[in-house]
């Protein structure tokens, strides 16, 4: 297979396979959760489930002072790398063109140097997060192989994207193909690993807020 054939495969059939697994996987995982259902609460309500649920979806991103102080690194690095992922994935001009191809519309991009800098910042944040995971006693103890595997699959598209943009080490088509392949890998494992939290966080926070809200406590 020539490098152009390789690039065409990852852009064509490879990408389609990844999208199908990603979309079907996410739907299956959501169905698995929602079909289980939940018994109605028979206790007399003191507050609103809906209000509590919606509040917690937002408020859980902003911890109270003591919680922030105790987990400052996790909070700050988490904000940086999630923000960095959002910016590099959704606000980079070539990515927006690709989204436009799929969904039919686009949106304004950030200047490329900004994306370039954010990529480096995000990679550094993820490296720091790995070091923290290994150094922190509780975190190291609860970490599983999946945690390290998912970390690797998350940082790969950032590294391959950076290399492809700066054409480091290989020819441009090969670098681009490797970058796209790394994203496809991420999409394929996404529904079956903790990466699913990107979608289920809303559900999980809603349940938490609803359980508390029903008892009149804002959680």
């Amino acid at each position: 297979m020539s490098e152009i054939e390789f690039l065409n495969w990852v852009r064509g059939p490879g990408f389609q396979i990844a999208i199908i697994i990603f979309v079907a996987g996410v739907i299956i995982r959501f169905a698995e959760i929602l079909l289980l259902g939940r018994k109605p609460n028979l206790a007399e309500a003191k507050g609103s489930e809906m209000r509590g649920g919606l509040c917690t979806i937002v408020s859980r991103s902003f911890p109270d002072k003591n919680t922030f102080q105790r987990s400052a690194f996790t909070e700050v690095s988490g904000w940086i790398f999630h923000g960095g992922l959002f910016i590099t994935i959704f606000l980079f001009a070539p990515h927006i063109l690709m989204f436009k191809d799929i969904i039919g519309f686009g949106w304004p991009a950030l200047p490329t140097p900004v994306i370039d800098a954010m990529t480096v910042v995000t990679i550094i944040a993820l490296l720091a997060i790995l070091v923290h995971r290994i150094n922190n006693r509780a975190l190291r103890f609860i970490s599983t192989k999946e945690d390290y595997f998912v970390w690797l699959i998350t940082i790969l598209p950032l590294i391959t994207g950076y290399l492809a943009f700066h054409r480091i080490g290989m020819t441009a088509p090969t670098l681009l193909a490797i970058h796209i392949l790394s994203v496809e890998l991420l999409m394929v494992i996404f529904p079956f690993t903790k990466l699913m939290h990107a979608f289920t966080i809303t559900l999980s926070r809603w349940y938490n807020g609803a359980i508390s809200g029903y008892r009149g406590v804002e959680s």
Partner: protein, 418 residues
């Protein structure tokens, strides 16, 4: 597989619903729950990280309710729940957790980790992996009617004393009374002053109330050990008595988990809504305050603080009421650095106090409360849970700290105008 293990696995399987699935799916292993748990912060034991305690339930969810888990199970790759796992987890689930729910308030993914641990206990108990102390308390609750073995004659004797000392009549089995008061065994045996305080307040405020001789015990060992059937039976006894006496409201006393059991779990345990209301004593007192039925005299000059019982405040929603009431008589009230819904547990709830094996870790965990108290240096601590009260007294004594513990209801009664 042994019969008890099978029972445990079945019990865990029954616990999985959409909340459990959403929670486990969302966990990213960030470790923030560790920092919210006094059994981790005060001991440094990484196994005490809250989410780690839910491992038996997580394994069942994964292997039975997820696509990848089921495929893994068929290939023999998904981790199983076995005897070894349950024995190893017993101390984590019972000795190193008070179900205080602080982790549930902190988790950035919104997992109600305390709920997951509570559900894990169902499997542990069914498989026979519950602590001796809790098994004993639960057996006594079912056979005798009280986890501490307090029978009706003991209550009657205390009531006689109270009536003699206070000159007030304690109404027993009054049909059609507005309120039916429940008591914890701890209050009956260690703090009968609580009964006279209620009698005094209710008599001044002209409240119609009663105690049922058929069901006076408020505590529910069933929810602590994690056996739904037993918890439901204990709730049913109260429901029967309340319906028989046709009372409008059942009052849960100064006890944290008793409130959780009857107010929030009760109707769900027996599978139907109550025909009466359930209120915590602090809610009832605060209503009386609002209606202007509490006439207070004299102010406490000493520096007072309030210890939030977890099941009353964070898990129960009774947070403002104690503060409104304390305001009536306290001139110098000071909050602990983290309070209300973010308060720190005393370290002995959720069955830990009935479990002697946990004594050492309980006293270590108390360090968190000690640090909070060192920061504000109160003259006295007010609380609204006799279990918190006993444990705080124990912890303070261990640490040679002389800070008296006060019951909110009793302190309020002392400040009633004649």
């Amino acid at each position: 597989m042994s019969a008890s293990l099978e029972k445990g696995i079945n019990a865990l399987t029954q616990q999985v619903d959409s909340t459990v699935a959403a929670f486990f799916t969302s966990c990213v292993h960030c470790g923030m729950c560790a920092e919210a748990c006094l059994f981790y912060t005060e001991t440094g034991n990484p196994a005490a990280t809250p989410i780690h305690k839910t491992e038996p339930l997580r394994r069942i969810w994964k292997s039975e309710y997820t696509l990848q888990g089921r495929i893994g199970k068929a290939l023999g790759l998904t981790a199983k729940v076995d005897e070894a796992l349950l024995s190893e987890w017993e101390t984590l689930v019972y000795d190193n957790c008070t179900l205080c729910g602080r982790c549930s308030m902190v988790c950035p993914m919104g997992l109600d980790i305390a709920l997951l641990i509570r559900k894990t206990r169902e499997g542990m108990a069914a498989a026979g992996h519950a602590p001796e102390g809790l098994i004993g308390a639960t057996t006594r609750a079912i056979t005798i009617g009280s986890p501490m073995g307090v029978k009706l004659p003991a209550l009657m004797a205390q009531i006689k004393h109270v009536e003699k000392d206070s000159g007030l009549k304690i109404p027993l089995d009054v049909e059609g009374a507005e309120y039916m008061l429940l008591l914890s065994s701890m209050e009956i045996m260690n703090f009968p002053e609580f009964i006279s305080a209620i009698a005094k307040i209710f008599s001044k405020a002209n409240v119609s109330w009663t105690i049922s001789t058929q069901a006076f015990e408020a505590t529910n060992s069933g929810i602590q050990i994690g056996v739904t059937d037993i918890a439901a039976e204990l709730v049913q006894r109260i429901v029967d008595a309340a319906e028989k006496l046709k009372v409008k409201t059942v009052i849960s006393p100064e006890c944290g988990h008793a409130y959780m059991a009857i107010r929030w779990d009760g109707p769900n345990l027996i599978g139907k809504p109550f025909t009466f209301k359930v209120r915590h004593i602090l809610e009832v007192l605060d209503e009386l305050r609002k209606d202007g039925r509490l006439k207070i005299t004299g102010k406490e000059k000493q520096r007072l603080t309030y210890h939030d019982p977890c099941q009353v405040s964070r898990r129960g929603g009774v947070i403002d009421q104690p503060r409104n009431l304390i305001d009536l008589f306290a001139e110098n009230f000071v909050e602990m650095p983290d309070h209300g819904k973010m308060g720190w547990c005393c370290g002995a709830g959720g069955g830990v106090s009935s479990n002697e094996r946990a004594d050492e870790v309980r006293l270590k965990a108390f360090q968190r409360k000690k640090d909070q108290l060192d920061e504000i240096k109160p003259d006295a601590i007010i609380s609204a849970c006799s279990n918190c009260r006993i444990n705080l007294e124990d912890g303070l004594e261990e640490n040679n700290m002389e800070i008296p513990l006060l019951s909110l209801t009793e302190t309020l009664a002392e400040h009633l105008a004649d």
